[in-house]
């Protein structure tokens, strides 16, 4: 399996990369960590004539934290972010999702930005971006755009990025207050793309009720699913077995997943509800622990 011939460009600055993309138009494609794109090249499912590798652009590899923001450079690898205290504190849900992304050898090369720009609704990072209302910063010949996650994912593998734009960073607002998060998946084999994955990040009020909740699902729709229906059930209340059950049912009611070789739509729907209920419970437990350890 060999990719078709292509020309590889390895620019050292962002402006060089953008100029190359502008020059090559629809024949150009950005290469980040390559853990999704290179398999597509090997299968010849992708046949770009020009690959623009961002691997030499040092400015894209930093994780920064300001009081209001966690900023993850697009070329930060999963492994780098997985080890980051700033990410663990500023985006607990993202930190919980990393161990589910393929295997260590993939996370060593794969990038947060690459995964998001690839736009696979079965991928953990796309769902996390939607749940945490991440802002994607895109730079192109017409300047810089800030694209909210809800507008970023358009269809399976289709994002709001124009062909001559580079995703440069992902911005997330860190939680304020006792917060817990959880991510769980049901997959055929550990490390495979999950049949269904679910994540939740919960912030508790002083009285133990849920002050803020974000729930997301992978693998159930053409774009990552933000489970607003389940969030609506839970927000403002303390959780109970009944409320998590109601939230699970609310999610099952709205989902319309597809069937394939690995699982039927009904199975995916059922698993999605179960995972929602599980991750919410675990996230609340962790948030409660966060409250007591802070006290």
């Amino acid at each position: 399996m060999k990719p078709v011939d292509f020309e590889l460009h390895r620019p050292e600055t962002l402006s060089e990369a953008i100029a190359l993309l502008a020059e090559h138009g629809e024949d150009g494609k950005v290469l980040a960590g390559g853990q999704s794109l290179v398999p597509l090249l090997n299968f010849r499912l992708a046949r770009p004539e020009h690959l623009i590798d961002l691997g030499r652009i040092a400015s894209l590899t930093a994780i920064r934290r300001t009081p209001q923001r966690l900023i993850i450079g697009a070329m930060v690898t999963h492994a780098q972010a997985e080890r980051s205290v700033a990410v663990a504190q500023g985006a607990p849900l993202m930190a919980r999702a990393f161990p589910h992304i393929a295997h260590q050898a993939i996370r060593a090369r794969g990038t947060v930005g690459g995964s998001i720009a690839h736009g696979d609704p079965a991928a953990e990072m796309t769902a996390v971006a939607v749940a945490l209302e991440a802002i994607m910063v895109a730079v192109g010949p017409r300047g810089t755009r800030e694209i909210p996650a809800r507008d970023f994912f358009i269809a399976n593998l289709v994002t709001a990025l124009d062909h001559d734009e580079v995703l440069t960073e992902v911005r997330i607002v860190p939680p304020a207050g006792p917060t817990g998060a959880a991510f769980e998946e049901v997959a055929r084999r550990q490390g495979d793309f999950a049949l269904v994955g679910a994540g939740a990040q919960v912030r508790l009020a002083q009285d133990g009720t849920i002050a803020d909740i974000r729930i997301c699902l992978t693998g159930v729709s053409a774009t990552p699913h933000r489970a607003l229906e389940a969030e609506a059930v839970l927000i403002g209340h303390a959780i109970s077995p009944e409320s998590t059950q109601t939230a699970a049912d609310a999610t099952r009611d709205v989902l319309n997943p597809s069937s394939d070789l690995h699982a039927t739509a009904d199975y995916r729907r059922d698993v999605a509800g179960t995972l929602v209920s599980r991750v919410v419970k675990t996230a609340v437990q962790r948030a409660t622990f966060d409250t007591t350890s802070a006290a």
Binding site: F6, P39, N42, F43, P99, Q104, A108, R109
Partner: protein, 171 residues
């Protein structure tokens, strides 16, 4: 019309300078241009782990990395672990003693994944061990002897702390 690239890669401690096509994977580069056929190619799309090599000491999949992307970096292949006359290193020796291979196809990648664990994690838990080899598919051993090899090379089974007491009881 593809581009050619001059790459400078430190392979097993030796600086190699070669010209390679843009589309050449690191795995094909190692095998076809350097003759280091110990790196095996299974699935060629990053799923099986047979092509695992160490990039600056970290396991990566050489079938889904372009050789040109490795320019200026350090790569260790299975050939880099043994001594000048083919003497096995500690991890390789442990794999032999515990019969941690049958057909041997996954072994180079598996050994390198284990080598990185041994080098980078001082006191790995059972979870660390399973995570280290979980991305490498072995269809012969069922992983039991591979775990034994790892425990052997870590010196003493008792040293392997486990994060799950139930697992200890079952072993």
């Amino acid at each position: 019309m593809g581009s050619n690239h001059e790459v400078h890669i430190e392979v097993n401690g030796e600086l190699r300078t070669c010209t390679t096509e843009a589309r050449t994977s690191l795995a094909d580069f190692l095998r076809d241009q350097l003759g280091l056929t110990g790196t095996h190619l299974g699935c060629e799309h990053g799923v099986c782990g047979a092509c695992t090599v160490l990039l600056n000491g970290t396991p990566i999949r050489s079938c889904i990395m372009l050789a040109a992307q490795a320019d200026g970096q350090s790569v260790t292949t299975i050939e880099g672990l043994s001594g000048p006359d083919g003497e096995l290193n500690g991890v390789q020796e442990a794999f032999c003693k515990t019969h941690a291979l049958q057909c041997g196809f996954c072994t180079p990648g598996m050994v390198l994944a284990v080598q990185a664990l041994v080098d980078n994690v001082p006191e790995p838990t059972q979870q660390d061990i399973d995570d280290a080899i979980g991305g490498n598919i072995c269809r012969c051993t069922g992983y039991v002897q591979i775990r034994e090899a790892i425990e052997l090379v870590l010196g003493d089974v008792a040293k392997v702390r486990t994060s799950d007491d139930a697992t200890v009881g079952a072993r």
